[in-house]
Symmetry: C2
Subunit: 330 residues, 2 copies
């Protein structure tokens, strides 16, 4: 576990989301909701890049910063070769480090952006991640026009992009106090329609590691948020922790369960995708921080490290989970 | 430009390559050459993961270290969702940060692994990257069985993986003294068979930035190595630098030109892929350092940020270039 001394502070945050997300329980917290999830573009892939560009623009504007103020941006998404973020970022002229951590990308980006601040070599850094339901469906599964049925354990890729800007200790903003980079866990899950189950062991591994080091009471945290296991995966994760002696308590939740109304929005097991935890964190969680309602949060980004070819080649699905602790002075 | 005070030192290095690379001019420097580039596996994708696993194992062994000594590994490749590295790394239980920078991944990994050391929070980190000709061909272009002809400007994806281990200042090993993270440059190139031309402006941008800050004479470096522009792209890069007042001199070369015999090996414009600069650096360059033949090298990793869908959707091809300076005491 890395404990940050420089208190890298989240001085900027913003997001842009699609229609389904904007109709969900967190609708009042999003900065921009696009009515048809196309963001004015002709293809879903171009729409995702434009959504990212808008999330970054909004974040810079809210923080009263210009692209030239950002010394290094960490970003990634689910598209092949991570082109969504690369094309979305290309107009800003910001030094750019591309990441791939599947749905763990946002937490990984916050962790690495914090270490960069901690090194004393950067004063302002950025983390961004995104996903788009329609570009992900046709890349990973089937074109939407095919009308394929989905299993109850399948998750719904969130259309959303979230961005944070980190800077040296500022006292008044929430700050990253700890980072646990995850290791790759593979318990032999092969069902690509149940990625929550593939990621749950990785999430449990990282969280158990964290609590075995800190020996803190999970109830002391305002939120312990995984992102994104969905309903199925979050239950497995909670059970795995309990079996290992860690009762997570009532403040434990999953970004994939929070972003949708699971009963009414036909999203099966809940949300997933790099944009899920990114948009829930930069909308709802940061809002709660800034309104002084919460002061201590664990965000555990969870990724399933597969692609369609590895599934066809009978590979199991490894998972990874990166943890960041975000605090704000009372 | 980031100047490292802690002198993150390259205390371990290793690689594994395929047959074509093992037949090339650098054959004597590679740690492992597989005779049929399959590394004992049934598919090219599994072969790439196994090649990575072997490169990491060899590197650890040569450095007399165990996986548990590595506190954070940065890694990436060209496969969709970077699964080659994830599956290759899954048995080591090393905290893992996935990167995507196309062919710039190795230099980016060295830069971020160095910043992690510089933060004082990590004492030993790793960077790894790889590519495999046969898995890349069928993912990006056509299955090999199709026997497709290639244009003269096309590059040949290197089958190779290279790995370095960095640690705090050790005096006796080469160390990373500077890092310039690149910005995304897009000059409107759309020909996916001429990626050198797409990456050359990004390489020139980063190198011109470096020399405008340091005001040093390029002739003072033992090597200024791009990785990997190929013969075509390296010529464009050299011309772009010259037009902007920077004469790079006789020590400027490209890893994609060095790894093959361009006249005899039928590789068109030379090598490319994340594994090209990774294997050239960890084999030839590190060997020259350890034999005290060289003392100051610039490695400029260059990536083309495209995928087959962006090409079909008429996107231009943005490039990015990350620079690291490696020195060793005389």
């Amino acid at each position: 576990m890395i404990e940050m001394k420089s208190r890298p502070s989240i001085i900027g945050f913003g997001n842009s989301v699609g229609k389904l997300e904007g109709d969900g329980p967190l609708k009042e917290y999003f900065d921009l909701t696009d009515t048809d999830s196309k963001f004015g573009m002709k293809t879903w892939e171009k729409a995702e890049s434009e959504m990212i560009r808008q999330a970054v623009s909004i974040t810079l504007k809210k923080a009263h910063l210009k692209p030239g103020n950002i010394e290094l941006a960490f970003g990634g998404d689910l598209s092949n070769q991570c082109t969504a973020t690369a094309l979305g970022m290309r107009g800003f002229n910001i030094p750019y480090a591309g990441l791939y951590g599947a749905c763990s990308t946002f937490a990984l980006g916050i962790g690495l952006a914090s270490i960069s601040i901690e090194s004393g070599k950067f004063s302002t850094t950025m983390a961004i991640s995104s996903s788009h339901y329609s570009s992900a469906e046709r890349q990973y599964r089937f074109p939407l026009e095919y009308g394929c049925q989905r299993t109850p354990t399948a998750q719904t890729t969130v259309t959303g992009a979230g961005c944070v800007i980190l800077s040296k200790d500022t006292k008044s903003y929430p700050y990253v106090s700890a980072f646990v980079p995850g290791t790759i866990c593979d318990l032999g899950i092969t069902d690509a329609n149940n990625m929550g189950a593939a990621m749950a062991p990785a999430a449990a591994d990282t969280v158990l590691k964290y609590f075995s080091i800190t020996r803190e009471d999970p109830n002391n945290y305002d939120y312990i948020l995984t992102g994104d296991l969905g309903a199925e995966g979050h239950k497995i994760f909670t059970d795995l922790c309990l079996k290992n002696g860690l009762a997570l308590g009532k403040n434990s939740n999953d970004c994939g369960k929070m972003i949708y109304n699971l009963k009414e929005q036909e999203v099966n097991s809940g949300g997933s995708g790099c944009g899920c935890s990114a948009s829930v964190f930069t909308a709802f969680v940061m809002n709660e921080f800034m309104e002084n309602k919460i002061h201590d949060v664990l965000l555990i980004g969870t990724g399933a490290l597969l692609n369609p070819s590895t599934v066809l080649q009978n590979e199991t699905i490894p998972g990874i989970a990166h943890l960041v602790r975000i605090r704000r002075e009372q």
